[in-house]
Amino acid sequence: MTADLLIVDRLRAGYGAAVVLDELSFRMRPGEALAVLGRNGVGKSTLLRCLMGQVRVHDGSVRLGQAEIARVAPQARVRAGLAFVPQEREIFRSLTVDEHLTFAARPGPWTRDSVYGLFPRLRERRRNTGTQLSGGEQQMLAIARALTLNPSLLLLDEPLEGLAPIVVREVGDCIRRLVAETGQAVILVEQHVRFALRLTANALVLDRGRAIHHGPSADLLADRPLLDRLVGLRREAAASVDTETLPCSIKTATTA
């Protein structure tokens, strides 16, 4: 039996005093691909930023391999084996493509040249600076940059967001190959639900910072009503709060 790669245990985190992740727990095996799904604003991106150390942890623990990382600096998390592809891509405007792939590289199978093998388009633009790239190329570069850190776990935050449909296919293909052929462990946050489910082994569904579902992606893909209920738009049963529970002061305010 192999040890778990990542153990998130009762994690509470948020921006300042705001709580975005509330008592969140889950585990991942080495080489596993996990999709994190949920509607807007449920804390998916915050989860990745929190794992990366960019969001304040209120409580709980995060173990990556042997290291407890919930409270260490982001650069120490990279040493422990994380790499991050942020939603906004955050390409360095004054660095060339080549420089993006060498300035922080860590030893391992991924090198500048092997990354170019995965993204041939980037090799053609190697002398260009970050700002001269198209949206799709920037996304590839953000993934490539993260790979050169040779992570044991790659965090991808909505890599297809804001890309033209044809580019979506190209970037999607790259991610598919990355997961299927290289056995890279990833956490994929994605609004393209079916794409994410087809790509990953397991799926974690969040709602208001809590896990409301965790199971094989294939099952979820097959169960259309369940998927609709978990991440789709649906009418709530609005019975959980009725007017009887209102503080009297607010009710009087209505009539005032």
């Binding site: 982001p74 650069q75 990279v78 360095f92 405007r93 300035f103 922080a104 940059r145």
Partner: protein
Amino acid sequence: MIAELAELGFNGLAYGIVLFFMACGLSITMGLMGFANLAHGATAMLGGYVLVVAMRDLGLPFLASLPAAFAVAAIAGALFEMTICRRLHAAGELDQVLLTIGVVFMAIASATFGFGAGQQAIVMPGYLTGRVAFGPIEVSAYRLFLLALGAAITIGLVTALERSRLGVRIRAAVDNRAMTTACGIDVGRLFTVVFALGSGLGGLGGALSVNLVGLDPSFPLKYLVFIMIVVTVGGFGSMTGTLVAALLLGLADVACKYFLPEAGAFAIFAVTAVVLYWRPQGLFGRLA
């Protein structure tokens, strides 16, 4: 007339180069960490006094004293960063400004205590004291030396920033500090190195300026203004901006003193105020 103008321009550029040395380290540290270090002028003064001591008391030649000025200032900068600056990264600008002004005041008092309030005299080597003629144009040898050294160091600096891994990391951190950290780079340690380098360059600038503008304990306060003008007008973190602003300021100052002696520094401050009002982020700066 043309020869006069040419010499004026030449002097302005030489002065600008010295200002660039004194300001470029501050520009990077401002851009990297947003740390308002008004004590940078004190570091430059330290470099000046190191040169004076090395040449006058230790009898070192001028060219050997320059690296000494660089080294002492760099070490002092690194110590200052590691002991004091580090506690103030999260503090507001006002706290940073107050603390570093405090350091300036202490430096002034210490310099007066150690060296007296007067101007320091150094004897320059013979090959730098004369004048060199290019056809009708005749310029001072020291200014020619300054320009040559300045050009060499600027080119070296720019190349290092372009090519070396450290330089690339610095550029990345100035662009986006959080993402650089998320790439596994310890920006805090990077900052210490940059701070030391910047202080060293400031010290070198101070050493070079001894024979150009003189050296006395009021140096940090007098040049603080010019350094801050160069940095803010040039835009934090922009090497090109700092260079252009320093050369412009050098030229403007020399021209002002020549053509409008009554206006003095007034014109320069006025232009600065206008530029900052128009572009608070500086000429080459980006809005944070």
